[in-house]
Amino acid sequence: MSEPLLQAINLECERDERLLFQNLSFSILPGTVTRVEGPNGTGKTTLLRILAGLNDAWSGDLLWCGEPRSRQRESFLRNTLYLGHRPGIKPLLTPMENLRALMAGRRPVSDKLLSQALAGTGLAGFERVPCRNLSAGQQRRVALARLLIADEPLWLLDEVFTAIDASGVQAIEALLQQRAAEGGAVLVTTHHDLQLPGMNRITLGQGQNHEC
Amino acid sequence: MAFDSFSAFLAMEGHGPYVWTCYAVFVVFVAGMMFWSARRNRAVIEGCKRRFEQQQGTSGQDVRQKASATFTRVEVSQD
């Protein structure tokens, strides 16, 4: 067993006077896929936003590689990829420009690699079309193209399968599994019935919270 | 005393209306703020008390029973 990348200890979050979860503890190890599950409104998205560092309204401890995350901010941000509900795609820009802008602050990537990634999500030939002319699913695919060139070891994916067609879903499942095999860690929330061998689960909204 | 009589005190050589208006407005606002703050404090305490007593009455029952969604259609007449 290797050491956990991200470790949550006694995480507690209260939102709008409502306790979403408390005493939530789990570890995310390299080489695993973890699914966060639970009915609507139990705090899946909030948990992911907390883990990504977008939401500060929590208490407890978050350890990044064994040290408090607040002291490792740069390293944490460099090594974590977060894809949210909102895909982060500018409707006025083309898929190529969008992808380039998203990668720009992280690491230098050649245009060739970017177009390969776009082709990998089935967007070959759409590189020069403004994203507002694409369908919702295609726009999501632009955001997902990042996964094909991402070197971040920790992926936090919120509702990745939204608006993606059946064959796309299968391909993404395979991608997640492959990523885990490479030694990456993946955390997903989804309502899609995701079943991967060796998948961990974090279940929210049951009164008590499971550890894994 | 800087004034010879009470009426001189009130008149303040013609500046009385200005001075007294200021003092009146000041007293009204400060007293009003104190009064409203105290009243709200009492209202919050009463509210808490009522809730706590109600909770003691209904303790033992699980108030937060969750109904699971069924997505059955509500009977609506469709003419």
Binding site: L54, C65, R78, G84, R86, G88, K90, P108, P153 | -
Partner: protein
């Protein structure tokens, strides 16, 4: 940090430098703005229209206009910047690019600074360029117009920088636009006073270098402090959504 995890982690240094990241943010904002040119024109049209209201609403006399022209132009410029500020973060917030901006492994205040500079280049700078024409229309003298343009050139970046704080604070709120004005207008007062005061001093023939230096000091102060406040406000607003 233990050795096993280190093998997986990418060291921060393999990434992109902050300056490159700033350039990327800046150029993306400029590019998006040029895809939607109408949005660029709106503050300018607003500027011209507000200035037009004064001769119509108060008096078209040359004497009045010459005396208050600089003030009118400054107020109008201030209002148009204010009007455009609501968009500074809103679109990015709605489509999720702001989340990705906050999560970049870069100092957030620098990225915010890049965004603010882009905003200034797209609204403040065109206003300055338009000012000579409007200055002639309100019968300002050549020297006054030049000084007015100079004060606007120094002043409008301050407006953008301070305004970014308000835009970040009111992000995602109902009636954010009105609230933004309420929060920001009091903070604009010193810039307005010195901007118009400098022009007034120039028209009386007084030396203005000192005033301009003071406005420059405002700009430096805003440049160094405002991005930190905007970045902090941005994090708070992200956390709230």
């Amino acid at each position: 940090m233990n050795a096993k995890v280190d093998a997986v982690l990418k060291p921060v240094e393999t990434g992109v430098g902050p300056v490159q990241a700033m350039i990327a943010v800046f150029s993306r904002d400029v590019r998006v703005a040029f895809r939607q040119r109408q949005d660029l024109l709106n503050p300018l049209l607003f500027f011209v229209m507000v200035v037009t209201l004064f001769p119509l609403g108060v008096s078209p006399e040359v004497e009045f206009l010459r005396q208050s022209g600089a003030g009118i132009l400054w107020v109008a410029a201030l209002l148009s910047v204010l009007l455009s500020l609501d968009h500074l973060f809103r679109h990015d917030f709605d489509d999720g690019t702001l989340e990705q901006l906050v999560l970049q492994p870069q100092p957030l205040f620098l990225l915010v600074l890049a965004k603010t500079l882009a905003h200034w280049m797209l609204t403040g700078l065109p206003l300055v360029l338009l000012t000579p024409i409007l200055g002639i229309m309100v019968h300002l003298e050549g020297n006054s117009i030049a000084i007015l343009c100079l004060t606007l050139l120094i002043g409008t970046p301050v407006l953008s920088l301070i305004g970014a704080i308000g835009a970040a604070l009111t992000l995602g709120l109902r009636s954010a636009g009105v609230l933004l004005s309420l929060l920001i207008i009091p903070l604009y007062i010193p810039v307005l006073i010195f901007g118009t005061g400098t022009v007034a001093a120039a028209s009386e023939g007084a030396p203005v270098a000192g005033y301009l230096a003071l406005m420059g000091a405002f700009l430096v102060l805003a440049l160094t402090l405002a991005p930190f406040a905007s970045a902090a406000a941005l994090r708070i607003s992200m956390s709230n959504s």
